[in-house]
């Protein structure tokens, strides 16, 4: 069954907001670009509906069973049986929502339990839970630095980190991606300036799968008097002997001041956190607007998250399987002649030449029963379009082979693989 073709939007005004001076007038260029994309594509890549998940690695899309290689479900936890059961039981006993912020009526004993659990898991003194991973970055960054401080961001940091930077009002200096020497140069340039200095990096970068050299960054931060925050959103549950992320992998957790992460990747639920040994973290609860002015996580989500943390801790074999699956997908795509990053990682990005080729490739894969993410400039590093795949411990070797075969076949058809 083929997808219903969306009605392409014609360039030009659409309703009163689009008229000159209207609230949507500033998006005229975006409207034109989107319209051109919809003309060139049989379906909207940014509006794919997963009608029903069949398992952690398969779902129904356009009425057909489709392999899911575009989710962040690294350990398959979104379908965890213990988590479903805990969530159901807690929903029955406690209801489905808190209706308030953590600092008002929104703190249940479960929230405190989750924070204690996270602190213990990371071997840290303190943990603070946010309602989403996005808010964890916004809430932590905007609380730690303000207009009198300087924030140093890896150039490829996630939008939530840039948005946290804006909310903080701090002066923001970008440094070259994964380049501690470039950071050091920029830290030294500002050595004479007053105010706190915070450096933010990610453990695994979400678009490319690149892994940060955390230890080297920690050394540079220490030598130059800056605090270090690592966002382990994509690396928690994936890297390190105990799955605590890139800092654990690099053996430098004690040199990282703040670890931020999310529940929505390898833990399969939703929410975010910050863990630290700094005793003043409780002050963040009183100044962090994304923590104070939003409803707290619903109890069934907290219960499910506690259950998936138990699952992740109890099953280190999932990480070994994930590594093997990542190596299989990465090796297979490279052997097929596609351009990927150098090192295997659960995020495997295939770089393409231009947007028409990327659109054709993405549509061809979906028609062949493989769903991946399409990422277009300017959201991608170096302005090349990407097909972003994420592999899960739940994928079978046969499913990965099927995906590689689809990539090879469609890649040849669209000219991304030269004969």
């Amino acid at each position: 069954m083929s997808a219903p073709k969306p009605t392409p939007q014609e360039p030009g005004a659409k309703g009163p907001g689009s008229a000159p001076g209207g609230v949507f007038a500033k998006y005229a260029h975006l409207r034109d670009t989107r319209s051109q994309m919809l003309h060139a594509s049989p379906r909207d890549p940014f509006n794919v509906v997963i009608e029903k998940p069949l398992s952690a690695s398969e779902g129904v899309i356009e009425g057909r069973p489709t392999l899911l290689f575009g989710t962040n479900n690294y350990l398959g936890m979104s379908q965890s049986t213990p988590a479903r059961e805990k969530a159901q039981a807690v929903a029955r006993s406690m209801g489905v929502g808190t209706t308030g912020s953590r600092i008002a009526n929104g703190t249940f004993s479960l929230h405190a339990q989750l924070e204690q659990r996270l602190a213990k898991l990371f071997g840290r003194k303190h943990a603070m839970v946010f309602s989403t991973g996005y808010q964890a970055n916004l809430g932590t960054i905007s609380a730690l630095v303000n207009k009198d401080d300087i924030l140093f961001l890896d150039a490829d940091c996630h939008a939530s980190i840039y948005d946290g930077a804006k909310l903080s009002g701090a002066r923001v200096i970008r440094f070259r991606h994964n380049d501690p020497a470039d950071l050091e140069k920029r830290l030294k340039r500002s050595a004479h300036e007053s105010g706190a200095r915070l450096v933010v990096i990610e453990g695994i970068y979400s678009m490319t799968g690149n892994v940060a050299p955390v230890k080297r960054f920690a050394e540079v931060c220490k030598a130059n008097g800056a605090a270090l925050m690592v966002d382990e959103a994509h690396s928690f549950g994936v890297l390190g002997e105990n799955g605590r992320g890139a800092a654990e992998l690099d053996g430098c957790e004690g040199e990282v001041d703040f670890i931020v992460g999310t529940f929505s990747k390898s833990l399969g639920t939703v929410g975010g956190y910050c863990v630290t040994d700094h005793d003043d973290i409780d002050l963040m609860r009183l100044v962090s607007r994304p923590y104070m002015f939003t409803a707290s996580l619903p109890p069934e989500i907290v219960a499910a998250t506690l259950a998936t943390i138990d699952d992740v801790e109890a099953k280190p074999e999932l990480r070994a399987q994930l590594r093997a699956n990542a190596a299989q997908l990465h090796g297979g795509l490279r052997a097929a002649g596609l351009k990927t990053g150098e090192h295997p990682s659960p995020v495997v990005a295939v770089t393409l030449d231009d947007i028409p080729q990327a659109l054709a490739f993405w549509n061809g894969l979906l028609e062949a029963g493989v769903y991946v993410n399409l990422s277009l400039p300017p959201a991608t590093p170096d302005n090349f379009p990407l097909l972003r795949c994420s592999v899960s411990a739940a994928h079978t070797p046969a499913q990965i082979e099927k995906a590689i075969a689809a990539f090879a076949q469609v890649g040849k058809a669209v000219g991304a693989i030269k004969a």
Binding site: I150, A155, A165, R171, V172, I173, R174, R176, K185, R186, R189, S190, H192, E193, P377, P378, N383
Partner: protein, 91 residues
């Protein structure tokens, strides 16, 4: 000809133009009045990445919020000059 040790806004403008022209995709007729996003067809990411190159050439760092007010190559040169002056004053 390369711009050595730029001291004035004009020197910095010349340095920026020289660096931009090293990119074959940039139009050949640019000058200080050229608008970086419209005339050079740079998106916001390309602007940030290009500014990093100029930062290294001049050994300064431009906070991202300063870029919001920059429209032309001349605007960028004025911004860089003010940061350089501030930095020299504090050195």
């Amino acid at each position: 000809m390369s711009v050595e040790n730029p001291q004035t806004v004009d020197d910095i403008t010349a340095l920026i133009v020289e660096r931009l022209l090293a990119n074959p995709k940039v139009p050949r007729n640019i000058n200080g009045d050229s608008r970086i996003m419209q005339d050079l067809a740079f998106d916001s990411l390309a602007v940030m990445n290009f500014v990093m190159e100029i930062e290294d050439a001049l050994d300064v760092s431009v906070p991202l919020d300063k870029l919001a007010d920059i429209n032309t190559i001349h605007d960028l040169a004025v911004c860089l000059k003010s940061i350089l002056d501030e930095q020299r004053g504090q050195a």
